[in-house]
């Protein structure tokens, strides 16, 4: 595989963003810590990915290892909150993150969990440049943090094998998202450190879809990910894309196996 431990000076990584997450990397695995929102969000995201992958490759989502023998890339893997469950579900997981500290945190944790995950410091476009391809590519809560959205989305597309799937989740650029994700989550509830998100970098679903198509990915479904404050639970809602949303698309070609 290609050497990806070198952080390119030009590319989609915004150095200010990398520095911000590195400072809090140690807290990734504390479910009551700074990443509590991601821990709470995780079951909904994993269930969605698992079910769509199982359906795409004709597998049983609820028994055994529904992702067995599929290669999966987790872009912006952070502390490994998504990479580890994907590995337990059977996938052969590669996690990339621009932050060396995140990759270190994730590697140490995965070893303790007896999970073999290939974590690398690097970027989506460097990996795409190398020609690496995966059955499933995840770009979750990451596109709103990159410097060059179009380049990033094109790189994501190139990383998916023909017939494979790409999953992406992010925040919509709406007034409601500004009120909830920035004012609410960062300032009122204190769920996220202030400055985590920049509303101007949020993307409308149509903008993401256009960017993905340019990279050869055909969007199949977009769902809203909605938080119910009373039950404190996240759920999927096809009719409410106003704040958090998730989509998946296919790369042209027949799925392998």
């Amino acid at each position: 595989m290609v050497e990806t431990t070198h952080i390119p000076t030009a590319g989609t990584v915004d150095p200010a963003e990398v520095e911000r997450f590195s400072r809090i990397a140690d807290e990734w695995w504390d479910p009551a810590g700074k990443f509590a929102p991601l821990h709470r969000l995780n079951p909904v995201r994993i269930g969605y990915i698992r079910d769509r992958v199982a359906a795409h490759w004709g597998r049983d989502a609820l028994n055994g290892e529904p992702l067995k023998d599929l290669s999966l890339l987790d872009i912006g893997c952070g502390g490994g909150l998504m990479s580890e469950p994907m590995a337990r579900l059977g996938a052969t997981v590669t996690g990339v993150d621009a932050s060396e500290r995140n990759v270190g945190t994730a590697s140490v944790h995965a070893t303790g969990q007896d999970l073999a995950i290939d974590y690398r410091q690097g970027t989506a476009e460097a990996l795409a440049e190398s020609g690496a391809q995966f059955d499933v590519v995840l770009a979750l809560e990451i596109v709103e943090h990159v410097a060059d959205v179009d380049l990033f989305l094109r790189s994501c597309g190139r990383l998916v094998k023909p017939g494979g799937l790409l999953f992406l989740s992010t925040l919509n650029r709406t007034a409601k998202a500004w009120a909830l994700a920035i004012v609410g989550a960062e300032y009122v509830l204190g769920w996220l450190p202030r400055g985590t998100h920049d509303w101007k970098k949020f993307l409308k679903p149509s903008e993401v879809a256009r960017g993905l198509r340019a990279g050869g990915i055909e969007p199949q479904e977009i769902v809203g990910v909605v938080y119910a404050p009373l039950s404190r639970k996240w759920s999927l809602n096809k009719n409410d894309l106003d704040v958090n949303y998730m989509l998946y698309g296919t790369a042209a070609g027949a799925p392998m196996r």
Partner: protein
């Protein structure tokens, strides 16, 4: 603790204590695809080799659904006596046959009286134990580790380990303490408990009586504490039997337990009454000092408390084991859900979901049984008038009656799938 290469991949669950809670947890977990090691210092099958020891368990309707979902009920049903009616009465210090105040019929919980399920069942513990163990022995997901015991443990952020007396080391994602209310694990983990003595002893025994009980459970509130008569299956010789939970003030109970057989029988018959003809205690007199123990937390890093290890309650409502069964159903469901999502089955997120789910349900039962006992275990005249008025009021209001019956059956609250009779 060092990790030796001989360690196999960690179990999902290491269960300490193979009583009725621990063994049922291992089976429910195994049937849901979770691996476990079940550890007990007593050789497991020795527990079932003895004959009937006089101890029985009340199985609420919802617990029965879990047994059915796990495929255990067919074996238990012939040895389970259904409770069709519950009669509750308030008797004074003279123990006289008391006026009937409250009468629950199992048909009240259902909209269709014809198909109504019993409110619960009484089963001898040995039948429960052997049915569960027989299934465990054939369950590939469960490893029975007995006789052996835990001498050291280590719980870390990513896994837990146990060192056993035999020298064996067990790696696991989660340790479950099912050791009962006197288990050491809770205190060793630094988890405190709300705990107080009721200054009562429960005398448990079996009574033989001339007339059949017709599925009626009776609870007589005597000044020293409740006297419960629970219908059992007929004995091997066709004798009509009931299981007795006889609560008395500690000092009086101690004197009773020391009485010779004729004197004990006279005291017993006076409280039992003559509604089932001549009656006599049979077999062993068991005694249990009553104490409430409610753990301040049910979870810690890679540790979970289930059953009486989390909450030992007053037996006044016959709900002790049923709360444990609900703990088991909830724990297995949160772990199975986590496993299907590739999440850490013993991780903090998973355990937090269990703790939140069980806390409110257990707390309400702890409080209700405690309140009932305080309200009834006395002979204070104004309190008697109030509680009798309360019983009479409940008796006259159908909606309240239905609520109480459904509560006794365990049908109230957000029920885990196994408790709804489904597989998680």
């Amino acid at each position: 603790m060092d990790r030796r290469p001989s360690d196999r991949s960690p179990f999902d669950l290491a269960i300490v204590g193979a009583g009725l809670n621990g063994s049922l947890l291992a089976l429910a977990a195994g049937e849901s695809g979770l691996s476990s090691a079940l550890i007990d210092r007593v050789p497991l099958f020795a527990m079932t080799e003895q004959g009937f020891d006089g101890r029985t368990t009340a199985i609420a309707y919802t617990s029965q659904r879990l047994f059915a979902a796990l495929g255990l009920w067919d074996e238990l049903a012939p040895n389970a006596e259904p409770i069709r009616d519950i009669r509750i009465s308030d008797a004074g210090h003279d123990g006289r046959a008391s006026p009937l105040f409250l009468h629950f019929d199992h048909r009240e919980a259902s909209d269709d009286p014809e198909t109504a399920a019993p409110m619960g069942w009484i089963v001898e513990n040995r039948f429960l134990r052997s049915a569960i163990l027989r299934r465990l022995a054939a369950c590939p997901k469960v490893e029975l580790v007995s006789p052996d015991e835990v001498v050291d443990s280590d719980r870390g952020p990513v896994r837990a380990g146990l060192v056993l007396k035999s020298g064996r080391r067990i790696a696991t994602r989660l340790i479950a303490s099912a050791e009962g209310r006197f288990g050491a694990t809770r205190e060793e983990a630094g988890i405190g408990a709300r705990s107080w003595s009721y200054d009562q002893i429960a005398i448990v025994l079996v009574a033989h009586h001339a007339e059949p009980h017709r599925g009626v459970a009776q609870e007589k509130f005597l000044p020293g504490g409740p006297f419960a008569i629970l219908p059992m299956t007929d004995g091997p010789g066709g004798e009509h039997r009931s299981s007795i939970v006889w609560t008395e003030r500690t000092a009086i109970a101690r004197r009773l337990l020391e009485l010779d057989e004729p004197a004990f029988q006279a005291e017993f018959a006076r409280r039992f009454g003559d509604h089932l003809g001549p009656v006599a205690p049979a077999g062993t007199r068991w005694s249990y000092p009553l104490r409430l123990v409610h753990a301040e937390r049910y979870i810690d890093t890679r540790l979970v408390l289930v059953g009486d290890a989390a909450h030992g309650i007053h037996p006044i409502a016959g709900q002790g084991y049923n709360l444990g069964v609900r703990d088991i159903a909830a724990l297995v469901e949160v772990m199975a859900d986590a496993k299907r999502l590739g999440l850490d089955v013993g991780g903090a997120d998973t355990l937090e979901r269990y703790a939140q789910w069980r806390r409110a349900d257990n707390l309400s039962m702890v409080a209700a049984t405690d309140l009932l006992n305080r309200l009834f275990s006395n002979d204070i005249r104004p309190l008697r008038l109030v509680r009798d008025a309360g019983l009479a009021a409940v008796n006259r209001v159908p909606a309240l009656r239905k609520f109480f019956v459904r509560h006794a059956m365990g049908l109230i609250g957000d029920l885990p799938k196994l408790i709804r009779g489904e597989r998680p």
